[in-house]
Subunit: 415 residues, 2 copies
């Protein structure tokens, strides 16, 4: 491992307090999966069966734990979540599948649950066999050590090249009863859309049936985790799991069985905000990131076209290096619009950096002041706006700049 990268300059100035969530406890351990001198396994243990929903990588070569979670998600019941860092258990074939089954069995036995009620995720190096025994050995310590306020420690245990733990929390009412949503995430490289992002785990004490939870999660992810990109590289392991303990039902919260239930409207908005917050934190910890970039595309022929153009801009190495160099190089934005393969009419295209219109209807804006634009590019958050002038569809995506530090981090990861 290379020396840990210094804290991202885009890291949050402070972390929120994470209130305890009735119905779930957390523990971490230093199991020595790969790293030494740090925690690398987290356990979330539910007091009773929790409803579970998940969204996974679209990689055609998914990791063994992704296969496992997909297989067991249909039952919709979780008793525990085990996550390790250091080894992704990906491209490990039958050995990897065996390791996952072994962990499921060991955890199930330790907590008195069926193996399929144990959800799992792994992050780290690809292609190395995961030694399930190391995790199994840490189980006693984990099961004994669970506590209500252990989520921040869990967020730290799942970090790899992350420079800060990613946490978010929200309180929201369902009916007259306040419920809590807490979320954690990890991920800094190999971040690209199509739920191909990182690991994230969200917990709530709301009472929500698994199918409704799945519908909410799948919808919310489109404009959050599926709208960010660090390097266009889609991981084999990306996993977002959400658990609803239902403990709030004991305090009078109505059970949500249909995602369209108007009682859940505030909850869904809070979930949208929380996932977007976590997704932005992943971008802010993008490997080598010095700038947080928002790309807004408006006036597209369709939502799909808008998002494709936005991602073409956000994934362009030339746009990203221009941002790193604080260069208001809008010609590269034109290039990225052009290469997206979606309808665009050069002579209708407007381009903005922040509020500064640099190009108007196919020409450099006559009023455009390069000094003003250059000064804008020095900010740590840059908004690139594109108005296509063709239709009414829009999309927003987020990324970071591409710096020499990205190369340094990734040219030296395994050595």
């Amino acid at each position: 491992m290379a020396a840990p990268a210094p804290l991202s300059p885009l890291a949050p100035k402070k972390y929120p307090e994470l209130p305890a969530i009735p119905g779930v406890k957390f523990a971490t351990a230093a199991a020595g999966v790969r790293y030494s001198g740090r925690t690398d396994v987290m356990l979330a243990l539910f007091d009773g069966p929790a409803a579970v929903a998940g969204v996974f990588t679209r990689s055609k070569c998914p990791s063994a734990p992704v296969d496992w979670c997909r297989e067991h998600l249909s039952a919709g019941v979780a008793r525990a979540l085990v996550v390790n860092s250091g080894n992704a258990n990906a491209f490990t074939g039958a050995v990897g599948a065996r390791a996952v089954a072994d962990v499921g069995e060991a955890v199930g036995k330790a907590i008195g649950a069926a193996p399929g009620e144990v959800f799992m995720a792994s992050t780290g190096v690809i292609g190395e066999p995961l030694e399930a025994a190391r995790i199994a050995k840490a189980l006693d310590e984990l099961v004994v050590g669970v506590k209500r306020d252990g989520l921040m420690e869990a967020a730290r245990a799942i970090m790899t090249t992350d420079t800060f733990p990613k946490v978010a929390t929200a309180r929201v009412k369902i009916g007259e009863t306040e419920v809590v949503i807490n979320g954690i995430a990890k991920g800094a490289g190999m971040i690209a859309p199509d739920m191909a992002t990182m690991l994230s785990f969200v917990f709530t004490d709301a009472a929500i049936a698994a199918p409704a939870l799945q519908a909410m999660l799948s919808k919310s992810v489109r404009r959050s985790f599926n709208a960010i990109t660090v390097d266009s590289d889609t991981s084999t392991s990306d996993t977002l799991l959400m658990f609803a303990t239902g403990a709030a039902a004991g305090r009078g919260a109505p059970e949500i069985v249909d995602a369209g239930d108007p009682t859940a409207a505030d909850f869904k908005r809070a979930l949208d905000r929380l996932l977007l917050d976590l997704a932005h934190q992943v971008v802010r910890d993008g490997e080598g990131a010095r700038k947080f970039i928002e790309v807004r595309v408006e006036g597209a022929a369709s939502r799909k076209a808008a998002k494709r153009i936005a991602l073409s801009i956000a994934n362009s190495p030339l746009v990203k290096t221009a941002c790193a160099g604080e260069d208001a190089n809008w010609g590269r934005v034109v290039m990225a619009v052009g290469k997206a393969g979606e309808k665009a009419e050069r002579d209708k295209l407007d381009i903005y950096f922040g509020d500064i219109r640099v190009a108007h209807q196919g020409l450099r804006d006559p009023a455009y002041d390069e000094a003003e634009a250059s000064s804008y590019m020095k900010k740590s958050k840059i908004v690139i706006g594109v108005k296509l002038g063709i239709g009414t569809a829009r999309a927003k995506v987020w990324t970071c700049d591409l710096t020499k530090e990205y190369i340094a981090i990734n040219g030296d990861y395994r050595s």
Copy 2:
């Protein structure tokens, strides 16, 4: 402009002599389009009407000269080619179209041809109006100065961030008559497939009718210029034009009117090799490149799938930074195979670095020696092989590594 980058370590050790091609002469001038103290315009002047074929960027925001060439290509007749560096005349709207028409008219007048017989290309900064008058002013000097052996100088005049001129030559028989093919190219960044690569101009004295020339060129480009990528960014301006003067007919060469004519078989093979040579030179001059990378995908379900997977590997920032770091990180190759969206079965996948099989049937190869693989990664040419084990289709693409120098070059281009 940043200071010019040092010569690529992957540059050819020597340049071939470019024999004169009967029927065409070349000149260059320092027109001051953007640069000072160097040539920035080239003229190719044909003795008589030459057959012309072309392939262009698929960008939805093409440059004004690309629009111009597309419009006039159907007539298939060229009398001159004018290329400038320093300004791409892209995203310049009606002003850009006017500039192209002005240059066409001025050149046509100077040489006694119709404006539509003057082909054009521009490369450089996007979004700045091109001052046609600067090129027009240099015309007298250009027209007077043309010479048979001016092609190497022309190759230098069209360079932008290139660190070396790219030239290639071949002699081949059509029937009993030897003909010459000479080609030049420029391009170092904003290089990606879909004929979205760079500028390249190929000249031959063979007698080939325009439709046959077009068919040959379109086919040959698939496995050469459309199989390379530096940074996945597709330019607005990319242009490959090929001209056949027909002068060899005077020496007895038969005229080729059908691309399928067996008399042209050797010529087509020579053209394939020449375009591949030029395309490889573009990759070898990829911005910041230290390593030349060949990606071979075999056993895919279709040719399209093979190429898409190969490009997914070749465009992956994580694969490219691993190569830069001389890290035999085959897990990132798995990731790139998985994200391509094409059929792949983890448990059938074999991965090679050179001849070293690092992964076999979904698992790290038990015989794989990391020290040997690490030593292989120190070479300046790296071959990444993927055997999917699904079908029989294959593809090869070429790219370079992603280094800190790429960031340095592109973070400081316009400033």
